[in-house]
Amino acid sequence: MADKKTPQLDELQNGKWPSFVTEIKKAAVKNEASKELLHLLERSYEEKRGHWKHGGIVGVKGYGGGVIGRYSDLPEEYPHLQAFHTVRINAPSGWFYSTDSLRKICDIWERRGSGLMNLHGATGDAILLGTTTDQLQPIFDELSEEGFDLGGSGSDLRSPSCCVGPARCEHACYDTLEACYNITNTFQDELHRPMWPYKSKIKFSGCANDCTASIARSDCAVIGTWRDSLIIDPEEVKNYAASGMNIQHVCEGCPTEALKYNAETQELSVIADECSRCMHCINRMPKAITPGNDRGATILIGGKSTIVQSAFMGWVIVPFMKMEAESDYEEFKDIITRIWEWWDENGKTRERIGETIYRLGMSKFLTEVGLPAVPQMVYRPRANPYVFWPEDEIKK
């Protein structure tokens, strides 16, 4: 393609924030498709509309997902963009990479794709952005050779992801990286071979700060918590007080009034039974307050974005479960498998699990999946009296 002017995109090379236009231009130097992308994008900026068509079904052997097919609607003018598919690589837990690993991806992508990528996609995959249909299998073969595997796409399990957790965070209540790795490995079939009503996502956050936004962005959120009391170090409380921290103010932020400070004695105490483990006080005073010793996770189900029935946030279905030993993982896998099976049986096409439960009712879901109903599952009980009574509780 001949060099054309791209005045609008050029403007986006100004300013202090690193520019994606500069990135496309760097790729364009070495790659014809990237060069065409630059011009196609300039055209989109002029016309205020995208120029991509629906993806057809493209993929790699043995998998149903992992690739998003993409075709330009102006193939004559942008021949290198006629097909411009993306490949999703399942990223390592916590998005930790050795530079070796990253360079291996680069080398393959340099030879076989546009040279552009997203680090990372919103679900957490490393996205190789733009290649042709014939390159898909070789790319996968070579990636595979180097130990990489593809991520999810279509109506399958999407690549699970996790927060940095114990690798770098003092708040982690379980090993998010290991849980994510272990569980992802178990569900490789679900991840690579779409077979459900719709997509399903899992995200692992080490504590209620929820740094993966799991409650909003995953059908199944695994959020770290503890079962005993948070732990207060009286010496560090005094240090904070000495440093001028307004500890009373920290207590005022406690949503349950569980945290009490005695300014005279500089003693901080907690009513463990009242604490909801919201993380607020721990966030404010990490040297003095830490999660309890009996740690595990809360499981929430149903999170997703807007399409179709409105955005949903996940809701509690298991208030606490241990997340340490292999047997704990097994228990989790057992629960989530039952849930998927129930959804597979009851869900409509393009209906996320949260929507299916909403449509059919939580109590049906709980009964059929075999989870006990507990008050922690709801903010408050029903306001209507429309209870369904099972036949066996009725007099004949």
Partner: protein
């Protein structure tokens, strides 16, 4: 032949030695300056994480550049955050400032920690998707240029998490963000009967519409849309390319605010629409950047320390948010979908506004 189902790389082989040694042993952290986290371990080890902003859509050169820095300063390891920033994990305090300088040299800002604006979680836009109502990377670039000072500094009342999604599919998960920029279509799909006739399962297409706007059209062996019922969600277009939803004249951006996901202090909240539409105005979307800045700075000027956007608004009341920002309220902001009832003010206590 590729090995199937081998799973992702093992994280254990991708974490630097300092993390191997202190895994699960971290005791506390401090934020010595914007963009730098200092984590202290029970072992006494200190780890400095330098967080650098990234355009996310990057070239191989970019990746190799950061790898070079990681080799030089971080034993050959790095990571990315849930918001697509790059984190360099430095085990030697003396290397912190030089690394920051080196990042500056390749144009990467350091920041996004604590009470700052971090990178905007975003999506494909005109670069790669087929349904966008706006671009993703371009709007993000324009907004981050404009709010740059809030990334490299920690002068806000609390963290501010922004997201952008280029259509209602909301891949940016904008629905629980402090501030969300969302591409919106505003006209019903234009039906291409030829495309639809090609192998469309008409009942599924009819069923996919959340408002029941789509009806079979047996004459055309296609469908019709009851335009009065359509709210332009684009679900039919995702299902079928014959339901063309893109309309360059009328597509644009909506702004939602006040969402959160952390449980600290207050429960997670949805973002809520405060501006229903701003026309696309590339390359810099000035009306969008201005609207965003206005909201951010009104919050910054009025919220209490530690109070997130949504917490501030819930405290003062949404009616006062509109007064404080000067944003016009209209019936478009009143919900009329499934859970609308829960948003209506079922009480006589409220504040007046000018």
């Amino acid at each position: 032949m590729a090995i199937l189902d081998q799973g992702p790389l093992n994280y254990k082989e991708n974490i630097p030695p300092i993390i191997v040694d202190n895994y699960g042993k971290w005791r506390y952290h401090e934020i010595p300056r914007a963009g730098v986290l200092k984590h202290v371990s029970k072992t006494g080890a200190e780890l400095y994480s330098i967080r650098a902003g990234s355009p996310r859509l990057v070239s191989l050169d970019f990746v190799r550049d950061i790898c070079k820095l990681a080799d030089e300063y971080c034993d050959g390891y790095l990571r990315f955050t849930t918001r697509h920033n790059v984190e360099f994990l430095v085990s030697d305090a003396a290397k912190v400032e030089p690394l920051i300088a080196a990042l500056g040299a390749i144009g990467l800002p350091v920041g996004g920690t604590g009470a700052s604006i971090s990178n905007i979680v975003h999506t494909q836009g005109w670069v790669h998707c087929h349904t966008p109502a706006t671009d993703a990377s371009g709007v993000v670039k324009a907004v981050m240029d404009d709010l740059y000072e809030y990334f490299v500094d920690m002068k806000l009342p609390a963290q501010l998490k922004m997201s952008l999604a280029c259509c209602l599919n909301m891949c940016g998960a904008a629905h629980c963000s402090d501030l969300a920029i969302v591409g919106v279509h505003r006209t019903p799909p234009r039906i291409d009967h030829d495309k639809i006739r090609k192998g469309t399962e008409i009942p599924s297409l009819v069923a996919c519409c959340p408002t029941g706007a789509i009806r079979p059209n047996p004459k055309e062996k296609s469908v019709t849309v009851n335009e009065a019922k359509c709210m332009y969600c684009g679900n039919c277009y995702t299902m079928n390319p014959g339901m063309e939803i893109i309309d360059s004249q009328n597509d644009g951006i909506a702004i939602l605010v006040g969402g959160k996901v952390a449980n600290a202090r207050t429960a997670p909240m949805f973002s809520r629409m405060v501006i229903p539409f701003i026309a696309n105005n590339p390359p810099r979307w000035p009306e969008v950047t201005e609207a965003v800045r206005n909201i951010v700075e009104t919050w910054a000027a009025n919220a209490r320390k530690g109070e997130k956007m949504g917490e501030w608004i819930e405290r003062i009341g949404w009616e006062k948010f509109f007064e404080a920002t000067g944003i016009e309220f209209s019936d478009k902001l009143i919900d009329d979908f499934i859970f609308s009832r829960e948003t209506f003010r079922t009480g006589a206590a409220f504040k007046y506004t000018k």
